[in-house]
Amino acid sequence: MTRFGIPQFPGSCDETDTLLACSRVGEAELLWHKDKDLKGVDVVVVPGGFSYGDYLRVGAIPPFSPVMQAVKEFAAEGGLVLGICNGFQVLTEAGLLPGALLPNVNLAFTCRQVDLVVENVETPLTHEFAPTERISVPAKHTTGRYFAPTEMLNALEAEGQIILRYAEGHNFNGSVNDIAGVCNERRNVFGLMPHPEHAVDPLTGSDDGLKLFSSLASAAGVPA
C-alpha cells in the first residue's frame, strides 16, 4: 500500500481532511514540522491552512522548518510531492514549484465550488483522468492568484506543466491563464489551489477529487 505523509505545521487546517482523503487510497500519517523525518513515506502531501499563522507572507516561513528540509531532499530524489492551497504556496516559496500566489483580485477570502479542467493527463497526479476531463472541487483562499512572469509562463505552457485550469467563469481569484495547478519540470512536484481532499465523498459535495489521490497512489509504484 502506498504510504502518504502529511506535514503538520502549527496553523495547518486541512491536515486531517488530507489524511482522511489519502487513507481512502492508501495509508496516511502526519509528519511533525519539527522533525526532519519523513518516516519512509512514498508520497508527501503538504496540506492547506495558515502555517505559522501565514505571518510575513503566505508560505514564507515553513520552507525553513526541519520537515520541509526533508521534503526538499525527497523531491530532489524524485519523490512525489503535492501541495494543496497553503501547501502550494509553501512549495512555491520553497523553490520546488515555479511562480507565486498573489492576493485574490476580489481581495477577500472566498470559499466556492469551482469547475476545473484537467489539462495534462500525463503526470503521476493526473494519469487516471481522461484528457480535458472536467471536475468539480471546492476552492477556499485569500491568496490564490497564480502568477508567473511571461517568459516562465510561456515555458510552463510549452512544457505541459499546467495541469489544471479553472473552467470558463470559475477563475474567481484572477489567476493568469486560468491556472489552478502546476507541476515542476521533472513532473514529481505538484501544486493546486483548489482542495481535492474536500471532494472525495458525494456526501460532502463531490468525489471528483479522489482520482488525484488514487493517481498518486498508483504512480508511486508501491504494490497494493
Partner: protein, 764 residues
C-alpha cells in the same frame, strides 16, 4: 468624567452594591479588589437582572450531559459522542471595532467549547446591522463578516450557517452573536471546578497585556498619568494562530488525562476564570500576579487580574503531572506559568512579589451579588417607529402592492433581508473538517457528519447532527411572547426539515436596558415564550448568554432572543434538500400555518407600523407537526422541505425554484384558510396574505405523489394543503381570487434576482 465620581460608580457598581461589598469584606476593598468585584458583580458575570427570570427555562432532557453553568452545554448524540455548544454575544466590542470585535467573539466562543474538552467542529453566526442604505452599516457588516471569517478560517473550524439581517434599530448597536459546536467522547468532557488542595494553577497560551481593560482604567494609579490613553486599549486583538495551537494543546492535555480542571479566560479575564473555578470547586486560590507572563511592562495587579487578553487558558494540575503538562505546552510553543495554588481557605488571595494585594472570600465575589427583580410594564403603544426602508426593492414593493403579485415577489427576492446571503457566507470556509454534508443554502439547516476513523485512519460512518440559529427581532418587537415562540419554532422547523430530532437549545438574549420597565417587560415576556416553546418541544436549554443595555440615544434595539438548536440526524444521506431538483414532484404545505402580514418583510418594505400583537398559536399542534415532518424526511417521503419564513409562501416557493426546476402552484387552499381567519377582509387581502404572509409552522414539502398523498391522510389534522407539481423552467402561482397579477417567473430569473441583489447593494 467628573473627578468627584467615586471609583465604584465609575466601575458600574451602585452605592448599595458597594456597601454590601464593604459589609461582606468587613472593610473597604482596595483597588485590586474593587476591580475584581466590579467585574464579578457586572451583569455579564452575575446575571443580576436576568437570573430570576432565566430560572423558569427547562434545563432537563434525556440527551442532556452538561447544562447551564459550565463553559458550554452538551448533549449526547449517540455512539458515545457528545456535542458541546453555546452561543455568545460580542455586540459592544463589535460596535467599537467590528473586525477585531467579531473575530475575538469567535475566539471566545471557541475557547468555551474546548474548555469542556470538545474539539470545535463548527461555528454559526447571527448578525444584525442597521439598514444597508447606511454606509456605516455596510462597513460594520463587511468588517464583522471579515473578522469572523478571519478567525474561523484561520483556525480551521468551518462556519456552516447563520443569519444576517438589516433593521434600523440596530444602526447604532449592531449585534454579533457567535455559536460554536464541539465534538468529544462523552467521557472526555471536563468541568471547570478547581479541585485538590495543593494543586497547581497553570496559566497558558498568549501573554497578558492591557487589552480590554477599558472601564477599570479609572483605577490606574496617579503615576500612570490621567491622560495616557495609550496605556488603556479597550479593543482586544485576536490571534487565531495562537488559538489553533491552544486548541491542540488543550486537547492533547485532556487526551492524556493530565488535567484536574480547565477553564478559558474570556470577558473579565483571570478574575472571572479563577474565581468561578474556586467557587465551583468550593476551594480557595492563591494567585501570584508577578508570575503571569506579560507583554507589557509595569502592569499593576488589578490590570493583570482584569486584562482581557485573548487566547489564554487556566488549568489545575497535580504536582506529579506538572512537568508533563508544561512539556506539552512547550511542544505547542505556548507561554505557560504556574501562577498559584489551590487552597482550602475559600478565599481568593492575590499576591505581588510575595506581598498580599487582595484577599476576598470566594462566595462574596461569586455568589453574593444582589439579584434584582425586574419591574416590567407593558407599554401602552408600540415603542418602535414604523420601518422606513430606502431601497429599490422597497420602492418596487410599494408600486406593486395593490395588484401585482409578481412585482411584490421580485421585490421581496431582491430585498436586503431575503436575497441570497452568498456575498457574505462565501467569505467563510464552510467545509474544513470534512463533516459538512449540507452547506449554506443547500438545506434548511446545516448538517454535519460525525464520522469516526477505522484502524487505518479511513473515515467510517457515525451519527450526524443538524444545527440552525435563528432570531427575528422585528416580530419580537411586535409581540415579545409570541415573537419569541416564533423564533424557537422557526429554528426547530429548520432542524425538522433535515430530519433532525431537537436535542438541546442555546440562547443569546439581546435586549436593551432592563432597568427600563418596557424593556423589562420585553425580556420577561420573551423568556416566558421561550419557556413555553421549549416545554412544548421537550427541549432543554443547555446554556447561553444575556446581552443587555443594547441601546443608544436613538432608542433600544429590537428585542432579539437568538436561539440555536442542535438536532440528531440518523443518516446524513437521507436529508431533505430545500430546492426542487426533480420534475413531477407533488408540492404541499404542512403545518398549522396561519399567515399574517403583520410585522412581515412585505409590511416592512411598504412601511407599515409594527403591530402590538401577533396571532395566537397552538404550541402542541406545532410540536406535533414538526415531529411528523421530521419522521417523513427520515423515511425519505419528503424529499424537499423549506420552512416558510420571511416573504411568506410565495418567497419560499421561489427559493425552492433556485434549484433550476419550476413548479405550477395553486394557492386556493391557503387563501381559503386565510379567508376563514379574516372573514371581513377583501379578496385581494386574502390573496396577498396567503402569498406573502408570515407566521410559524408552515413547511413547503415535495415528494412523490403517492408518498405525499399517503402523508396527507395522516397529516390532515396537521393542516396539509396540496399546492401543485414541480416541473419545467417556470414558477407559476395562480391567484384564485383573480385580484392580483399572477406569478410567472423562470427559475433562472429567480436565481438572478435572488443571487445578485445583495452584492450589488453593498458595492453601490
Amino acid at each position: 468624567m467628573t473627578t468627584a465620581q467615586a471609583p465604584h460608580i465609575a466601575l458600574g457598581l451602585t452605592d448599595p452594591e458597594f456597601e454590601l461589598i464593604v459589609e461582606k469584606m468587613g472593610r473597604e476593598p482596595n483597588a485590586t479588589e474593587l476591580a475584581m468585584f466590579s467585574l464579578m458583580w457586572s451583569e455579564h458575570c452575575s446575571y443580576k437582572h436576568s437570573k430570576k427570570i432565566l430560572g423558569q427555562l427547562p434545563v432537563e432532557g434525556p440527551h442532556l450531559l452538561m447544562g447551564p453553568g459550565e463553559n458550554a452545554g452538551a448533549v449526547t448524540v449517540g455512539d458515545g459522542l457528545a456535542i458541546a455548544f453555546k452561543v455568545e454575544s460580542h455586540n459592544h466590542p463589535s460596535a467599537v471595532e467590528p473586525f477585531q470585535g467579531a473575530a475575538t467573539g469567535v475566539g471566545g466562543i471557541l475557547r468555551d467549547i474546548f474548555a469542556v474538552g470538545a474539539r470545535p467542529i463548527a461555528v454559526l453566526d447571527s448578525l444584525r446591522f442597521g439598514e444597508l442604505s447606511s454606509q456605516r452599516s455596510r462597513y460594520l457588516a463587511d468588517q464583522a463578516v471579515a473578522g469572523i471569517g478571519h478567525y474561523g478560517n484561520s483556525i480551521g473550524v468551518p462556519t456552516i450557517g447563520g443569519e444576517i439581517y438589516f433593521e434600523s434599530p440596530y444602526e447604532q448597536n449592531c449585534l454579533v452573536n457567535a455559536m460554536a459546536l464541539g465534538l468529544a467522547p462523552v467521557d472526555q468532557l471536563i468541568k471547570s471546578a478547581a479541585a485538590g488542595v495543593g494543586n497547581h494553577l497553570v496559566l497558558f497560551g498568549a501573554s497578558t497585556g492591557r487589552d480590554g481593560i477599558g472601564g477599570a482604567s479609572v483605577l490606574a494609579s496617579a503615576e500612570l498619568g490621567d491622560d495616557d490613553g495609550s496605556k488603556r486599549p479597550t479593543v482586544q486583538v485576536g490571534d487565531p494562530f495562537e488559538e489553533s495551537k491552544l486548541v491542540e494543546c488543550c486537547l492533547e492535555l485532556l487526551g492524556k488525562d493530565l488535567l484536574a480542571s480547565l477553564q478559558d479566560l474570556g470577558a473579565a479575564g483571570l478574575t472571572s476564570a479563577s474565581s468561578e473555578m474556586a467557587s465551583k470547586g468550593e476551594v480557595g486560590l492563591d494567585i501570584h500576579v508577578d508570575r503571569v507572563p506579560l507583554r507589557e511592562q509595569g502592569m499593576e495587579p488589578f490590570e493583570i487580574m482584569v486584562s482581557e487578553s485573548q487566547e489564554r487558558m487556566l488549568c489545575v494540575v497535580t504536582p506529579e503531572l506538572l512537568d508533563e503538562v508544561l512539556s506539552v505546552c512547550d511542544k505547542w510553543d505556548l507561554h505557560h506559568a504556574v501562577i498559584g495554588e489551590v487552597t482550602d481557605t475559600r478565599h481568593m488571595k492575590i499576591y505581588e512579589n510575595g506581598e498580599l494585594v487582595g484577599d476576598m472570600p470566594v462566595p462574596a465575589l461569586v455568589d453574593d451579588c444582589p439579584v434584582y427583580t425586574l419591574a416590567p410594564e407593558e407599554p401602552t403603544e408600540q415603542i418602535y417607529p414604523a420601518p422606513s426602508v430606502d431601497s429599490e426593492a422597497a420602492r418596487a414593493a410599494r408600486a406593486a402592492f395593490d395588484d401585482n403579485a409578481q412585482g411584490i415577489l421580485t421585490a421581496l427576492l431582491a430585498s436586503d433581508n431575503i436575497s441570497s446571503r452568498r456575498h457574505y457566507f462565501e467569505r467563510y470556509d464552510c467545509i474544513v473538517g470534512s463533516r459538512t454534508t449540507k452547506r449554506p443554502e443547500q438545506a434548511e439547516a446545516a448538517v454535519l457528519h460525525l464520522w469516526k476513523q477505522n484502524e487505518s485512519g479511513a473515515p467510517i460512518p457515525g451519527p450526524s447532527i443538524a444545527v440552525s440559529i435563528d432570531g427575528s427581532g422585528r416580530k419580537v418587537a411586535a409581540d415579545p411572547y409570541r415573537g419569541t415562540i416564533g423564533n424557537v419554532l422557526e429554528c426547530a422547523a429548520n432542524i425538522a426539515c433535515v430530519g433532525g430530532e431537537p436535542l438541546g437549545l442555546t440562547n443569546c438574549l439581546n435586549f436593551g436596558n432592563p432597568e427600563k420597565p418596557h424593556i423589562a417587560w420585553q425580556l420577561t415576556e420573551s423568556v416566558k415564550g421561550m419557556r413555553d416553546a421549549c416545554n412544548a418541544l421537550k427541549l432543554p436549554v443547555v446554556g447561553g448568554n444575556v446581552s443587555l443595555y443594547n441601546q443608544s440615544a436613538d432608542g433600544p434595539i429590537y428585542p432579539t432572543p437568538v436561539v440555536g438548536i442542535v438536532g440528531g440526524v440518523p443518516d446524513p444521506a437521507v436529508v431533505a434538500t430545500n430546492t426542487f431538483a426533480e420534475e413531477e414532484l407533488f408540492v404541499g404545505l404542512i403545518g398549522p400555518f396561519e399567515p399574517t402580514l403583520a410585522a412581515s418583510e412585505l409590511a416592512k418594505l411598504i412601511g407599515d407600523e409594527l403591530p402590538t400583537r401577533l396571532p395566537d398559536l397552538d404550541l402542541a399542534k406545532h410540536a406535533e407537526s414538526l415531529t411528523l415532518v421530521r419522521d417523513a424526511v427520515r423515511a425519505g417521503t419528503i424529499k424537499v422541505a423549506r420552512d416558510i419564513s420571511e416573504g411568506g409562501l410565495a418567497t419560499a416557493l421561489a427559493e425552492c425554484s433556485l434549484g433550476g426546476v419550476g413548479a405550477t402552484i395553486d394557492i386556493a387552499p391557503l387563501v381559503e384558510r386565510v379567508s376563514r381567519a379574516y372573514p371581513d377582509a377583501e379578496p385581494h387581502q386574502h390573496a396577498r396574505t396567503a402569498l406573502f404572509g408570515e407566521g410559524p409552522g408552515g413547511i413547503v414539502v415535495a415528494g412523490s405523489r403517492e408518498d405525499l398523498l399517503a402523508l396527507s391522510n395522516s397529516a390532515a389534522s396537521m393542516g396539509f394543503l396540496a399546492l401543485g407539481t414541480t416541473g419545467g423552467q417556470l414558477l407559476t402561482i395562480s391567484d384564485p381570487t383573480g385580484t392580483l397579477k399572477e406569478v410567472s417567473l423562470p427559475a433562472s430569473e429567480i436565481q438572478r434576482i435572488h443571487g445578485g441583489a445583495l452584492s450589488e447593494r453593498v458595492s453601490s
